[in-house]
């Protein structure tokens, strides 16, 4: 069994209103030293497979096809054995 942990974030340069809102929220309750916040998604995908390489391939395909929208998002992932 493998677990892919995929992170999808808005591309750099695209304004992230949610990140800004979180930053404002944190600051309004007194947290300091925050230079910036960005909010994205994390997906944990359990895979019934053992071969790391083919899993790697598969997750790339999933991301390109569905999990991320390349117009506005970038993705990265790691695959762990579980």
């Amino acid at each position: 069994m493998l677990k892919a942990i995929v992170t999808v974030m808005l591309k750099k340069g695209i304004f992230d209103p949610q990140g800004r809102a979180v930053q404002n929220g944190l600051e309004s309750v007194g947290f300091e030293n925050i230079k910036g916040v960005r909010v994205g998604k994390q997906l944990e995908i359990d895979l019934a497979m053992d071969d790391l390489e083919s899993a790697n391939d598969l997750v790339h395909k999933m991301c390109d096809k569905m999990l991320a929208n390349p117009v506005v998002e970038s993705y990265s992932f790691v695959i762990k054995e579980v």
């Binding site: 695209i14 209103p17 949610q18 096809k65 569905m66 506005v72």
Partner: protein, 234 residues
């Protein structure tokens, strides 16, 4: 003229679009099912609003991969008229049938209000019924309507007259203050390069039945109808 309204699990404005074509326009209309690849003999396709697949992941992210969408692409490539409204717009951008993408509203909240708009390009099969000075009222109801595309893309679209609708105030002024969701250049609706695929966040169908006190949206459907009729005769 046969109209088709494409149904996904989670579409919730399909009946509304159906109602307008059927009862307001009085034209034949059928539902198209997302699992089908045969669209029958429709002349125009409406991809309605709603929350296809619950808007999970991203609005339109799952729906655009459905079998019916490949058929819609083929239909459009042959010049068929396609209009995506709200979630339909999101699906069309996910399918890359229209440029750009719709991000979350900058206010981070769902926005339901009667919104004033101006038409930017009246020389399309979707807007011929309007005048450039018209200030129209269409309801909006969305959480991800904040239109984004790369600056180069935007410049190109502006140059080609691909921006169809812009958010404005009741006086017709277009500025950041009159922008409800943060869309670049107040963009509310766009058209593809070949001029037969439209995506828009505002709901023309909700502004088509006089009983509800709004009627400006009817123009979109009547424009389409006139175009179809003119082209059928040729």
């Amino acid at each position: 003229m046969n109209w088709g309204v494409l149904l996904f699990p989670g579409s919730n404005c399909a009946e509304d679009c159906f109602h307008v074509i059927d009862k307001v326009l009085g034209k034949p209309v059928t539902y198209l099912w997302h699992k089908d690849t045969d669209l029958g003999d429709v002349d125009a396709i409406i991809i309605p609003g709603g929350f296809s697949y619950g808007d999970h992941l991203r609005p339109g992210a799952i729906a655009h991969l459905s079998p019916a969408m490949s058929a819609v692409k083929e239909f459009a490539e042959k010049g068929g008229l396609v209009i995506g409204i709200c979630n339909g717009f999101q699906i069309l951008t996910e399918a890359r049938m229209l440029p750009g993408s719709l991000l979350q509203n900058r206010g981070l909240k769902f926005l339901c209000q009667d919104q004033t708009l101006k038409v930017d390009n009246i020389e399309t099969p979707f807007t011929s019924e309007y005048k450039t000075d018209d200030v129209l009222v269409f309801p909006i109801a969305h959480n991800e309507g904040n239109y984004y595309a790369k600056p180069e893309t935007i410049a190109e679209m502006e140059q080609n007259g691909q921006v169809l609708f812009r958010y404005c105030n009741p006086e017709g002024e277009i500025s950041d203050v009159t922008n409800p969701n943060g869309s670049i250049n107040n963009i509310a609706g766009i058209i593809n390069r070949t001029g037969n695929v439209v995506g828009m966040m505002p709901h023309p169908e909700r502004s088509s039945d006089n009983v509800l006190g709004l009627s400006d949206g009817k123009g979109v459907f009547i424009s389409m109808l006139k175009y179809l009729e003119a082209n059928k005769q040729n």
